[in-house]
Amino acid sequence: MNARFLASRRLWIGIAALACIGATGAAMLMWRPAIAPIERPQTFDSLHVQRGARVVEAGDCAVCHTRPGGQYLAGGLPLVTPFGTLYSTNITPDPQTGIGAWSLPAFERAMREGIARDGHFLYPAFPYVHYRRMSEGDIADAYAYLMSGPAVNSPALANHMNFPMNIRPLVSFWNLLFLHGEPLKAATEQSASWNRGRYLVDGPGHCAGCHSPLNLIGAEKSGEYLAGGSVDGWEAPSLLGMARRATPWRQDQLVRYLRAEVVEGHGTAAGPMRPVSLSIARLPVSDAQAIADYLLSLPGESSVSEVHPDRVSAGTSDLHSGALLFASACAGCHASAAPMRMIDGRPALAHTSALQSSSARNFMKTVLEGIPANPGEPGPVMPPFAASLNNDQLIALAAYLRQQAQPDKPWTDLTSTLEAIRQEAK
């Protein structure tokens, strides 16, 4: 009896000890201290501020942290994720609603670990997974630039995250699994430009955030780096093996594409890549050259080989009505003799990446939404056709143009792709 009592007592002590260890572990994992607020620092070396402007541009900060029509870096852009809708926050130096009370260590902790100054966990839509790979100097320069800008009082909008992702401390488990990168070290066997390109792509540029496939909990799949992903309903194409495709990218073409220009043989950046390319265009051209040097060095795809659907040719009636629709709605700008085609080497539609892709998604998104003008920025403009073409017409048009681009590989998923896109637009 005594022995049994002792054994049971030991068991209970063991359980209690384990619970204590578990609670301490969970607290260590899920709790982060606040970093004391500071008075907003007033002066920074102008050299640091200038360098910081370049870092913030390379990091595409404004692409998410400025909403359309809103003030620069004051946040409020909705980011629709599979886990709910997030709103980007104010990163102007306003002490109440922005980052005015953040010290450099608080800013660096946010950039590297995804923790806000007050200790709360930031969602990984903020790409700290990539920013943690940046150099200390770049992070300090970005801080100098951000803290020197005008303060805008703009409170954060309430997020609408689904359970359980509305519980921020749970992000700590995500971090445990996926937050591993270290600041990048130069690969000595590669050129300075290649190293700069890899730094921009993997660090501030966070290209893989869109161009890598994500797993079920929204982290980049480790073995499929830059193998293609999706964002905002657009296909973010694979960046692998770009130099060795059927229609290969030359270095000068990729540089011009990255800088929002129209490139013969490939087209121009549209959809979510448009603001990114406009951002890259504001960086020194050597940065776009570096990104191109690095990307074109990446080997081809292995596991994600091109889809070869069974040969199903589009119905001739579809092709005929597609040709008529092209004449009616598109030929004014896109026919081979159209005056618009004489401007800056605009390619035949058949050569654009949207029509060369194995998925019809980007073609359809471009036709439905067009390419809106960016006031004050150069670049092509295309009207949206969502209200001008019905589903049957869009499918016929896609089948016709795909037949000209890839006659042996017709798109087989037109109806389902279009239905999915229309559903997403609701």
Binding site: G69, A329, P375, L389
Partner: protein, 157 residues
């Protein structure tokens, strides 16, 4: 030639058309509705804007085929010279037309906005109207005229 039934300004019109004809040509050449204008033919200037169901579209790049079952509305549906509608009257009051070539398109794009949002603020008006161009430069008066109707809607509400 192909048979298409277009519903324009509330009445059904059976037309024999070239199968690739854009809506603008059918409106002007077959139905005598000359309000919508040919500007660029590329969907870049907005002079041809009409409303299909409840959305503004460039009629110069909208194929007639596919419009069956949809409601097309042109500037002629808003009022006449004798009896201008409220939006047209606001354009007159604010002297929003210089040469007038873009105005039918401006009216229809603004009408689509006001039906969707009866009292837009100026920023919303500016963003919505930014795709329609006026070569004479009366944009500021056009925005004022739309703002006038938005304010009337607000006091009526």
């Amino acid at each position: 030639m192909t048979q298409v039934t277009l519903n324009v300004n509330g009445s059904a019109q059976a037309l024999e058309l070239e199968p690739d004809m854009p809506l603008l040509y059918a409106l002007r050449n077959h139905l005598g509705l000359n309000g919508a204008k040919y500007g660029c033919g590329l969907g870049q200037c907005g002079a041809c804007t009409v409303i299909v169901d409840d959305k503004p579209v460039f009629s110069c790049v909208t194929p007639c085929a596919g419009l069956e079952g949809k409601q097309v509305r042109t500037v002629e549906s808003l009022g006449s010279a004798e009896q201008p509608g409220p939006l047209q009257q606001a354009f007159i009051d604010k002297q929003a037309a210089q040469c007038g070539y873009c105005i039918a398109g401006m009216l229809m794009r603004a009408q689509a906005l006001l039906e969707h949002n009866p009292h837009p603020d100026e920023q919303t008006i500016r963003e919505h109207m930014s795709v329609n161009l006026c070569r004479c430069g009366t944009h500021l008066r056009i925005i004022e005229a739309i703002g006038l109707v938005a304010a009337q809607n607000r006091s009526a509400a």
